[in-house]
Amino acid sequence: MPKSATPSRLAVRKTYKLYVAGKFPRSESGRTYLVDGDNVALASRKDARDAVVAARAAQPGWAGATAYNRGQVLYRIAEMLEARRAEFKSLGVAGAEVDAAVDRWVWYAGWSDKIAQVAGGANPVAGPYFNISAPEPTGVVGVIAPGSLLGLVSVVAPAVVTGNTVVVVASNPQAAITLGEVLATSDVPGGVVNVLTGRAAEIAPWLASHDDVNALDLSGVDDTELATELERAAAGTLKRVLRPTSGVDYTEDPGTGPMTALLEIKTVWHPKGF
């Protein structure tokens, strides 16, 4: 190649680091691996442990925020994701898929202050009581995410919109960490979403058996043997486990199922005056 007249710039190559507690740390283990020529942090069980601590610390504040506020934050995510459309496309995500992911954030943003009316309500009872059911977030959710950006958004958004916090094990690291960068600039409190990149088979068992994880979403686990093993480990602490039975088409309307699966219904009996 002929030398150009002007000196060429040095390439600025990006290292895709983890997204934990609102920061982008390297793996505690110091390990990295190559994905399509990019350096990506290879998370260890201790990164998972730290992520759970961060998620637990963030959970009461996030669940305590008003539904209206959480909706605004989710809408802000959609705005920031829209602005990074080109970056996602350069990572090989189709334009239509980015659009669908943005729309999904908007859709879930709208649900934040409506899901309580749909999943809960006043119950008629045969006694002098007000009887009210209200959905509450399950807590810290471990998510083994599917590979596509839309799939990732479709499992994270329904968990966090209701006040859960998540530890995500992502299988498409560049897109997932770029989504982490979107979240970090979207008023999402640190620790609400934590993204780990690496081998699900290495990290997921630690999340499944962790006493401080309340639910486990196995949407991204294709290996049925691993899924069964994770379900068994999760049973030790009576975690809620989501295990989609067959391939899910994330372009379809998800319905309220993904949200209600990670809600606990609290029912209050309140004596009525005579």
């Binding site: 759970v52 630690w206 058996s209 962790h210 006493d211």
Partner: protein
């Protein structure tokens, strides 16, 4: 330290001037050096069986503490029960060293702890400020001992110390020691208010000369609590004091130690500074409340093989 200072002090100070000469004759502390040393000692990796032993030792060294205005008899009873059996699910888990409460709560805790071997410590002497007349402090101490406390955590008058009135601080410690009678006396230096490492060294020696059985860093009620460099400095002081006077004094860092990792760093520091002799609950304590749960979670992680969560341990 010069030989003159030592000989003058061999029978404890004759006059306030001697005490001042002695304390100011102590070598100055190399701030950069002690901080670097403390940081270096914090980098050791303690794993598997060694970690399991360290955790059990740390549990045995905990002074399980509640010093809130909102302490109720119920909370103190629950805390005392926890001190006896920190992990109800695992009978191999050792009890903690002591329970530490306000004097008003001493009888409540004593009723639970009686005959168990778990000590009962009480803060006294107008904790945490120490700004009260001596008579009040002594009455506070006598009350706590009468209620059943066998360890007294007293605060020094930082105001007097910083004003240079070492004799007053010395006399107070001697008087409280006398009032405490058979109870062990821990002297809280409140290092966060002493401003310099030199002052911490002087206060450590002053307390030991006056008869302290333990020197303790902090009340936990000010912004700066126990830090590794300050604890290292105090460990050096007790080591040098034993070398010179033949009496062993314990050390208790308090406040701000919340994780197993921190606790193990302190254990490494003891081992490297004073050696085995201080690696025992009789000579080293952690003044802490939330540390115990982290120790229990780490212990559970080692015994079960999976990470433990705070939901499975009592809050108090």
């Amino acid at each position: 330290m010069t030989a003159t200072a030592t000989s003058r002090l061999s029978g404890l100070p004759d006059s306030p001037a001697d005490l001042r000469t002695f304390l100011h004759g102590l070598p100055g502390v190399d701030k950069v050096g002690i901080e670097a040393r403390a940081a270096a000692l914090g980098t050791r990796s303690v794993k598997t069986t060694a970690k399991a032993q360290a955790i059990d030792l740390a549990i045995r060294m905990v002074d399980l503490t509640t010093l809130e205005g909102a302490d109720t008899p119920g909370k103190v009873r629950a805390l005392s029960a926890k001190a006896l059996r920190p992990d109800p699910a695992d009978p191999t888990c050792p009890p903690v060293a002591a329970v530490c409460v306000y004097p008003a709560m001493v009888p409540t805790a004593a009723a639970v702890l009686a005959g168990s071997g778990v000590h009962l410590a009480s803060v006294a002497t107008a904790f945490p400020s120490g700004q009260a007349p001596l008579e009040v402090k002594l009455a506070d101490t006598r009350d706590a001992v009468a209620g059943g406390a066998d360890e007294i955590d007293m605060v020094i008058s930082r105001g007097a110390f910083l004003a240079g009135d070492y004799a007053k601080v010395f006399d107070e410690i001697v008087a409280v020691k006398q009032a405490a009678g058979p109870a062990h006396l821990k002297v809280i230096l409140e290092t966060g208010e002493l401003a310099t490492y030199d002052n911490v060294r002087r206060a450590s020696w002053l307390a030991m000369l006056a008869g302290a059985d333990f020197i303790k860093t902090s009340t936990g009620k000010v912004g700066v609590n126990a830090t590794p460099p300050v604890t290292l400095l105090m460990l050096e002081a007790v080591r040098d004091f034993r070398e010179r006077y033949g009496r062993q004094v314990g050390v208790k860092p308090a406040g701000g130690i919340k994780t197993t990792k921190d606790a193990i760093k302190y254990l490494v520091m003891i081992n490297e500074t004073c050696g085995d002799d201080w690696l025992h609950p009789d000579w080293f304590r952690f003044g802490a409340s939330s540390l115990l749960n982290d120790l229990l979670m780490q212990r559970t992680k080692l015994s079960t093989g999976h990470y433990a969560g705070p939901d499975y341990f009592t809050l108090d």
